[in-house]
């Protein structure tokens, strides 16, 4: 279970949000909403432990995520708005390295099923630099297909650059992850239909400093 307590995020002089608390349980999806610049990406990076919140703390299974960083990292997959692909490696190699670093088995056959899930198995041997924006996004997302055993997925705009087919596939993947007791945090501007027991919503506009001052 992931719990945030009175989180506050300050970027430079600007306070993006404050006093933000949430609780995310197994099988639940948390959707972070908010206008551009409201701090969605910052909140996600705080949730991953990449950035420390200015105040407040994040608890994973009741323990602070900063206390056991590696242990926490093994329990999460983060896909940011950067696809984290090396241009000079092939799609397959990119996925293998990502899986190996995440401590997942990195056999080529397994990687290919992941790529196939997003319909890009035929690009496996192509260097990432020749892939289109949508294809690169698919390669990044193929990691999810290998990570069903990792409980917490944190996704920053996962639907950007995807075509209709890939959106449906991703929705299906998220639904099955949630159904098997996983947790998903995501930001998106699109209306998505993910089947989940509970969809929580954090609207950052409500926590913004401007509003608090008023």
């Amino acid at each position: 279970m992931l719990e945030g307590r009175q989180l506050e995020c300050t970027r430079g002089e600007r306070r993006l949000f404050s006093d933000l608390s949430f609780k995310l349980d197994r099988g639940q999806l948390l959707r972070v909403a908010g206008a551009n610049g409201s701090g969605k990406t910052s909140l996600l990076r705080i949730m991953c432990g990449l950035v420390a919140p200015s105040t407040g703390e994040l608890l994973w299974q009741g323990r602070s995520i900063r206390a056991e960083r590696e242990e926490y990292s093994r329990n999460l997959v983060f896909i940011g708005h950067l696809n984290a692909l090396k241009d000079d490696l092939t799609a397959l190699e990119n996925l293998q390295v990502a899986a190996a670093l995440a401590g997942l088995p990195a056999g080529a056959a397994r990687m290919l099923t992941g790529l196939d899930r997003f319909g890009i198995a035929h690009c496996a041997e192509l260097p990432a630099k020749v892939l289109s924006q949508g294809q690169r996004r698919r390669v990044a997302l193929a990691r999810l297909a290998l990570s069903d055993a990792v409980p917490l997925w944190i996704l920053d705009e996962p639907f950007s650059a995807l075509d209709v087919g890939a959106v449906v596939e991703l929705e299906r993947l998220l639904a099955s992850h949630l159904a098997s007791g996983g947790m998903v945090v995501l930001t998106t501007h699109q209306e998505v239909e993910v089947v989940a027991q509970t969809v929580l919503r954090v609207d950052l506009d409500r926590y913004s400093a401007a509003l608090l001052a008023a």
Partner: protein, 222 residues
Amino acid sequence: MIRTLGWVLRRDLLLVFRRRGDVINALVFFVIVVSLFPLGVGPEASQLRNMAPGVLWVSALLACMLSLARLFAPDHQDGTLEQMLLAGEPLVVIVLGKIMAHWLVSGLPLVLIAPLLGLQFDLPADALAVLCFSLLIGTPVLSLIGAVGAALTLGVRGSGALVALLVLPLYVPVLIFGAGSVGATASGTGAEAHLLLLGGFLALALVLAPWASAAALRIAME
């Protein structure tokens, strides 16, 4: 842990192999800078012999620094560094893997080509051997210290000049004892003391630098 180290090493070496030009540039830079000195100073053999250790070591230092920009910055730009920070393995191990790859690619070639360049300066065989050996234990220190500098300046504008300012002063002891070892052999006092000190630097840097770089990377990502 060994598996992670292996994967990072493999990944970085593969990336370099796909972009061979970068490595060749640094190596050619080393060869050209070293070769410029005999041309500029003139063919006086005893003078060349005296300055050879210093010239070779300073050039190795500069060549090594040239390639530091490639250590973390590209990974930072495309988001793969972020993923490494979230890898679930100690970041130190990953950083150590990257440093090892950096040395294999930008340090080891210098060690291998140095004896050939030493001939241009009319260095005797025993001095050439010591030169090689001092570079062999000295260049890893350059990569290790350089990694700290590269991590500290990550994402900073004009980081190239900043790395030089941060790292060059720290390279001074390595330069003194590295070049000193060759000089000592040539003058007949024996290089053991210098080489032992270089080995000491290597041990110290090996213990401290990966931790310092990992901490600096975490700060840079905030």
